[in-house]
Symmetry: C2
Subunit: 449 residues, 2 copies
Amino acid sequence: MPAKRPHVVIIGGGFGGLEAAKSLAKADVDITLIDKTNHHLFQPLLYQVATAGLAAPAIAAPTRSLFRHQANLTTLLAEVLDIQPSDKKVFLSDDTTVVFDHLIVAAGATHSYFGHDEWAAFAPGLKTLEDAFEIRRRVLFAFESAEKEPDPEKRQHWLTLCVIGAGPTGVEMAGAFAEIARQTLVGEFRRINPHDARILLIEGGPRVLQAMPESLSQKALEQLEKLGVEVRLNAIVTGIDATGLEVRGPAPAGVLGTVDYRIASQCVVWAAGVAASPLGGLLAQHTDCQTDRAGRFMVSPDLSVPGFPAISVIGDLALAMSHAPGKSPSAVPGVSPGAKQMGRWAAHNILSRIEGKPTRAFRYADYGNLATIGHNAAVVDLSTPLGPLRFSGRWAWWFWLLAHIYFLIGFRNRLVVLMDWASAYFSFSRNARVVAGTLHKAVPPVGES
Amino acid sequence: MPAKRPHVVIIGGGFGGLEAAKSLAKADVDITLIDKTNHHLFQPLLYQVATAGLAAPAIAAPTRSLFRHQANLTTLLAEVLDIQPSDKKVFLSDDTTVVFDHLIVAAGATHSYFGHDEWAAFAPGLKTLEDAFEIRRRVLFAFESAEKEPDPEKRQHWLTLCVIGAGPTGVEMAGAFAEIARQTLVGEFRRINPHDARILLIEGGPRVLQAMPESLSQKALEQLEKLGVEVRLNAIVTGIDATGLEVRGPAPAGVLGTVDYRIASQCVVWAAGVAASPLGGLLAQHTDCQTDRAGRFMVSPDLSVPGFPAISVIGDLALAMSHAPGKSPSAVPGVSPGAKQMGRWAAHNILSRIEGKPTRAFRYADYGNLATIGHNAAVVDLSTPLGPLRFSGRWAWWFWLLAHIYFLIGFRNRLVVLMDWASAYFSFSRNARVVAGTLHKAVPPVGES
């Protein structure tokens, strides 16, 4: 009888988990990939689903389908409730238990309201397709409600769209909102002018895209303002409710200090905070390990759990360091290349352990950073052997577009996205302006279909 | 000061309402089109969204966008709660009132459970995008649950998919379910064989597609069985609950009479009954008019409300007769060409009224009927001047495909649908196998992202 093959369990089908699973395709192991959704989501383009540019299937592929030809892998659609490190068990929500020899936890992150969970109802964040549909509904229905509103003051409240947080997602969404108002909807309303919409981007820090070099933050700010986005820097959101938000920010020009003010808005989107999956905290509890303030699990240099070498934590759930020879360790940024590289690394370390070889400390290869703002507007910061290469504007946008389409999973999706964007580029139309359901979600359907 | 132009209000942006609105594009009237969703839905392909073949935006176009260039039309996203015929008022759910000079009620239909509304939770019907997403979730997650189920008997319950009602929608869905099980999912599971799934199509009447001539019903039945669908005719559903359904149907061969039996199934879809929008009943109450058992409003020969010539009822909400010269009146079938023709007719009758001319009795032009079953499987019954032209199989399927793509609104959608189908035709893949949300909708998200 042949010896039982090692069982590798991977929790999470995001960039990290997927890459780990693929890296083990030819290994003599059995893999179980557990995800609570049925699809791998191309998160960098999720804002396009939220802003009605792309249909959900264009950026999501069934996880099961991606591994159709990887015979050593079983996909399970399930939620993981807890991990028992000493018994090497994973507990699923349907009362089943999975026993592992090696475990990769790639459970990702969700949005954090910094202790104000009551804001979630008024300012949805963007992590899942459901989030994207909810944001799409709110922004499109804000214009619909404005069209019906007879009171000019209330009408302007509907036409005030706020994005909180000027990281890549916040910048992308504010830019897309501006294009919806200034381009897509032009000529479609009879009582309002969508051009009257105000798009506010509210950022607590002193500049947009703080992970970028300062010169590119400045370029991004200029491109946002050119699109008609009002950017408020050093402005802290202190409250959000059903009709607007409270802000503490710089006083008007010529006055020192800060002022508190209110922005009346019926469409607020949260892009400010990220919290790691609760699984990280549970695992830290069971293993007597640490998480940081955002709930990220502090891993060993080889990405394993200190004291539990059979378990690795990767991706947005991990607080990992890059260990380049001759340099002091540096934190790995929470971007998809980081997650992918950790996935590959953790997989190879598992193979090393199976073969009785030593594992290696993770080393992050940083190829740079890029963010898009809108039509012909983006910023790119590439790390090259010749030093950084920085550019913005039309060239940066094309670079961003091609890079994203290249990395999209599956030929068919790439083609659909390319077509949608080609049509959007020339017409400013958006191809997914469809909201399932009606205006009053809670009211039972009466009336016209 | 110019005289105020007549105000035409249209309730419902389906085939009938849309066609009425377009027919008035050059008329000297103001039009308000009210719909409770933001999109026109190409309902004949909705089953493709439910069975993961197409993304929602491929078959839905923003109503507002369709009328961008029709300056005499205002689109309102709102639910109509009631109509006051004597005051010529329409009451909307947001406490506003719209006053009309002429009204076209095209509020459509929803599914009916024949007095068993408690079945709705266990057997969703297919009328809206939300319905389609729910059915997509149930059918795809049935296979996912089967893959996790250790008990062979329970596993088979997950793999038993039931469609109730063998009209066009039921036949399409059963055929698509069979293709998902026999083709799309092949090779993607490790513990189950999707081929083991049973697809049951349960019909109370003696044949499938009862609106078709008997020879084509027989052809459709043969094509369904070839796809692996078990068709149960003369079988009445007497109960549906969370784990299956109760059926009263013919006894096994050789035994006379009927038997009661149970089918264990976790995925049941309702395609059996249609009920007109409740607006029809309200209107009948206010006008002292009649509805039929399905709630359809019995209109005058010119499609107006008896005694209230300013109001017309069209589409699936109307019980209308066709008045061809020299023939006795015949009922108009509840199909999209019927709704479109009524829309045009009602619009022209409004123009006649405005000009003081007599209105004309509705006359339905019947071009035939077609239904699809699956890959290369369909039935077509065309009415031609030379008599009926009937065919089935591969040619019928291509005819059905081209006809539907031709009638799809908007060039871009046609192209996307064509591409998706071209890829699906050759690969049997389905391009929208994405379910937003997780397995346990009610459980708060804990675990991997």
